[in-house]
């Protein structure tokens, strides 16, 4: 138990350390952890690597289309249901954090179909 907790503690600290990046004018991108079908839509879960971001913006790509804005949430929020993603097709997501006028790079991308079995 103790080893697990220490490990988790270290991860938490690493996740929250962002001062070096801010010094050079960049901020950390979120890490997209999961996109899962839920109630006929898609639920996204991510980790915020920039603890003091103002907001997190998500972009959605339908099937083979282009990325478009999906939603924006406060920087401390780490999950969101995309109620507009309901059609039987793959949706791909990417995230980025924003602090002041600074945007992070985009996160990793993940894809899911809301009509897949939950």
């Amino acid at each position: 138990m103790k080893t697990f907790l220490i490990t988790a503690f270290a991860i938490a600290l690493a996740a929250c350390s962002s001062s070096d990046d801010e010094a050079d004018g960049t901020i950390q991108a979120p890490m997209l952890m999961d996109v899962e079908p839920m109630e006929g839509a898609l639920h996204l879960t991510w980790m915020n690597m920039q603890a003091d971001a103002d907001s997190v913006e998500a972009e959605r790509k339908m099937d083979t289309g282009e990325f478009e804005p999906a939603f924006t949430v406060p920087g401390t929020v780490d999950n969101r249901m995309d109620a507009e993603a309901t059609d039987d097709m793959p949706y791909t997501y990417r995230l980025r954090a924003k602090k002041g006028a600074i945007y992070s790079a985009y996160s990793n991308e993940m894809t899911a179909n809301p009509q897949d079995a939950e």
Binding site: A12, D34, E39, G40, A83, E118
Partner: protein, 471 residues
């Protein structure tokens, strides 16, 4: 997506990391067993009349430090989280002078207590108390048991901010025990700056707010001391919004002697004690071990839907054997007085619990409607009603009924065993499961029933039983 392992691993990691971040630095103090136990603050009885218990409660903002996090702005009863402990006896009259010093309106609901409807603290029977306003609650304490009180307006926010307190009502034939403790189980999500989230994210809406710090009596990982050999009685209440506690004390079995509405005729043993928000359990164990030995109270995973079952086990509290000489000869109780068994039969009402998206908004419904559009159940005063509660959703819901107790008749058509007979006011209706409950409605008025995950109740999963004269 391979969501099962990834999402749950992510949730577990976030929870463990944040919890560790917040209480690891304070663990030396929390785990040493040298500090005072986190006891509840007794409310002061302001009336010398032994038949009257008169207390003052003020809902007001305050600051509290959770583990090693920066101070958190909380809402309290009389300045503390949990609020004060009101200690009464069966037959006493409780009079509460309530003052609302919050910046928004509120009420006090007396969870589990049988009382007149106008004292129940819901918007069905009472206008909310405005900021700066007062209200006098007064009623007789009719039943022995452990109860609690909390707001019944914006309860998802107000309870999470800290508004909850405990009432212990003692009867004439209390179970024997060497020591008795109340354990108030809770959790709170504290952000890095010490604040509570003001944004209700979708996961919290779906599961109910779950915290990154687990609390017992308002403290993270407290230590309790007990003497080896003593018969220890624990009165446990879950005041969390969303978290189900699945309690294990390694090396021990829980002897369950009672629940929401008092003692049970036939106590039973279990290794895990599952307590949903709003529920109470009354258990006994005989402490064992040498001085200094420690056993850790664990919260083990429980699958209540949406992959919650893969979260990591987390420690809640420690019990340390004291240096006092061991005592011997204690035995666990195996029977208590009978309680009236209410009659079974075909169901009078059907309540279908469900969840889903409607116009892009997550809703929690009863019979396809959200409160206040759920048609009320009409019940003549004194009538017995059997309620079929069918949970069509993909997660468990703790079903809570105001104003009276109920008993579980069956689950998915299988009759409840005689040894499970108990008076309940909150029960877990598991996902995709139908339970038949029976209650007698002795008090006239409008009584709420709802899921006791307040995010679900506020999201629509709430209705009323209108108890009145027969048509």
């Amino acid at each position: 997506m391979k969501r099962d392992t990834r999402m749950t691993a992510c949730r577990s990691l976030r929870l463990a990391a944040l919890a560790t971040l917040l209480w690891a630095c304070g663990s030396d103090e929390a785990g040493s067993g040298d500090g005072p136990e986190p006891a509840l603050t007794p409310a002061t009885d302001e009336d010398p009349d032994p038949a009257v218990l008169e207390v003052s409660l003020e809902a007001r903002p305050a600051f509290k430090r959770y583990a090693d996090a920066p101070e958190t702005a909380v809402w309290t009863y009389n300045g503390s989280v949990p609020g004060p402990l009101i200690e009464g006896r069966v037959g006493e009259r409780l009079r509460v002078h309530f003052t609302n010093s919050l910046p928004e309106e509120t009420t006090i609901h007396w969870h589990g207590l049988r009382l007149p409807a106008v004292m129940d603290g819901t918007l069905a029977t009472q206008s909310p108390v405005p900021p700066g306003g007062t209200f006098e609650y007064e009623f007789e304490l009719r039943d022995a048991g452990l109860f609690w009180f909390h707001p019944h307006i914006r309860s998802d926010v107000q309870v999470e901010k800290g508004l909850h307190g405990i009432i212990r009502v003692t009867g004439s034939d209390e179970p024997e025990a060497d020591e008795q403790r109340i354990l108030v189980l809770d959790d709170v999500r504290v952000l890095a700056d010490g604040s509570l989230p003001t944004y209700l994210d979708d996961e919290s809406k779906m599961l109910g707010r779950q915290g990154n710090i687990l609390l017992v009596n308002g403290e993270a990982l407290p230590t309790f001391r007990w003497r080896s050999g003593v018969l220890q009685r624990l009165r446990i209440v879950n005041v969390a919004n969303g978290r189900f506690f699945n309690l294990a004390l390694p090396g021990y079995s829980w002897r369950v002697i009672g629940t929401d509405g008092g003692t049970m005729p036939q106590p039973y043993d279990t290794d895990h004690l599952l307590i949903a928000p709003g529920e109470r359990y009354d258990v006994v164990v005989i402490a064992s071990g040498a001085p200094g030995d420690v056993v850790t109270l664990m919260n083990d995973p429980y699958e209540r839907g949406h992959d919650t079952g893969a979260e990591a086990p987390l420690p809640l509290a420690q019990f340390r054997v004291s240096d006092e000489p061991s005592v011997s000869g204690r035995a666990l109780p195996d029977a208590f007085g009978e309680i009236e068994r209410l009659p079974g039969g075909s169901s009078d009402e059907q309540l279908v619990l469900d969840e889903g998206l409607r116009d892009g908004t997550l809703e929690f419904t009863i019979n396809g409607e959200t409160y206040p559009s759920v048609p009320p159940i009409r019940v003549p005063v004194g009538a017995v009603r059997r309620l079929e509660v069918r949970n069509e959703s993909e997660m468990d819901h703790p079903f809570h009924l105001h104003g009276t107790f109920f008993q579980v008749l069956s689950t998915d058509g299988i009759a409840a065993p005689m040894e499970a007979l108990a008076n309940k006011d909150t029960v877990i209706v598991p996902q995709k499961t139908t339970m038949q409950l029976v209650a007698r409605f002795d008090e006239p008025g409008r009584w709420m029933y709802h899921c006791h995950i307040p995010e679900h109740a506020e999201g629509g999963m709430m209705g009323e039983a209108d108890v009145g004269d027969a048509p």
